[in-house]
Symmetry: C2
Subunit: 176 residues, 2 copies
């Protein structure tokens, strides 16, 4: 049995240096200078968060085909990364699957995200089912020249109906 849980550890160590941090909603996270990502490690850290990558939950077959055709390869060595720890509220989690799918469709979540492919790679980690403070940890990587496109994409998503359900959100920008 392999442990599929990934841990983000913020502190004095790690290959990623924090260059900017922003607190948007809900509980803030403590400041740290560097970030390491890997399997779960014992022992305390100034900040840590865990999650698992999982199967696709809302993606249709058509969207999946587009993702496979235009998706960004992981571990491309991009110099910029952004970690967005986020939680959604109780109203979101009480929704039925068709209600959540309708919100994603109206918010144009997949459409907006696809506008930055393949420049921006995205990896989603789920924390809620582990009892973590953040339901999601989304990890993005891109080249410095693609940061304006990333910013525009993020602003569009945050303006959508889906964000009415966001109860906690922080943004940590890093350089390798």
């Amino acid at each position: 049995m392999t442990n599929p849980i990934t841990q983000f550890r913020g502190g004095d160590h790690g290959p990623w240096q924090v260059v900017n941090r922003r607190h948007l909603t809900g509980p803030a996270i403590p400041a740290f200078d560097r970030l390491a990502i890997g399997p779960e490690q014992p022992g305390p850290a100034p900040w840590q968060a865990r999650g698992f990558n999982s199967n696709l939950r809302y993606t249709t077959a058509r969207e999946r085909s587009e993702l496979l055709a235009n998706g960004a390869p992981a571990d491309r060595g991009d110099q910029c990364a952004v970690l967005i720890p986020m939680s959604k509220n109780a109203a979101w989690w009480a929704l039925a699957q068709d209600e959540r799918l309708a919100i994603y469709a109206r918010a144009r979540h997949m459409r907006i995200g696809m506008t930055v492919l393949p420049a921006v790679s995205r990896t989603l980690f789920h924390g809620r089912d582990l009892g973590e403070p953040f339901d999601f940890l989304t990890w993005f990587e891109f080249a410095p020249s693609d940061e304006p496109a990333f910013d525009a994409m993020l602003a569009q998503l945050r303006a959508s109906e889906e964000w009415d359900y966001v109860s906690a959100e922080s943004e940590i920008r890093l350089r390798r």
Copy 2:
């Protein structure tokens, strides 16, 4: 942070006595006499499996309303229980959400399950994202007189298209 993971421990202890076991597909699980269910415990056990209860993944708003109206209360003190550890194959997990929803609809999964409400209570635990051998641990409770209805429901589900994707399945029947 509370640990939302539930552990099933099979061995010589626990409130549930094994009265029948059946191996259907994939790797068999070792024999044990009694079963305990609770928070994760350290230390080995003759058999153990873990999972977390999560948000609804495929249930529509209409189905959820029916479940709320007819659902079985948990911890009713029913004398019979059935644990079904199960995994689905790689083809299932590679499906997009709309493809899985279509299979559930064609298999009439929710319709069939609702035929035994409120006599049979059901709790689903997810193990796949924890790296567990079984993707799902489904726990059913009912009164002895409802066992024939439970058996008929289970036979209908197993005859459906959804079961083409089942790669491992065992069935453990217990008495309190």
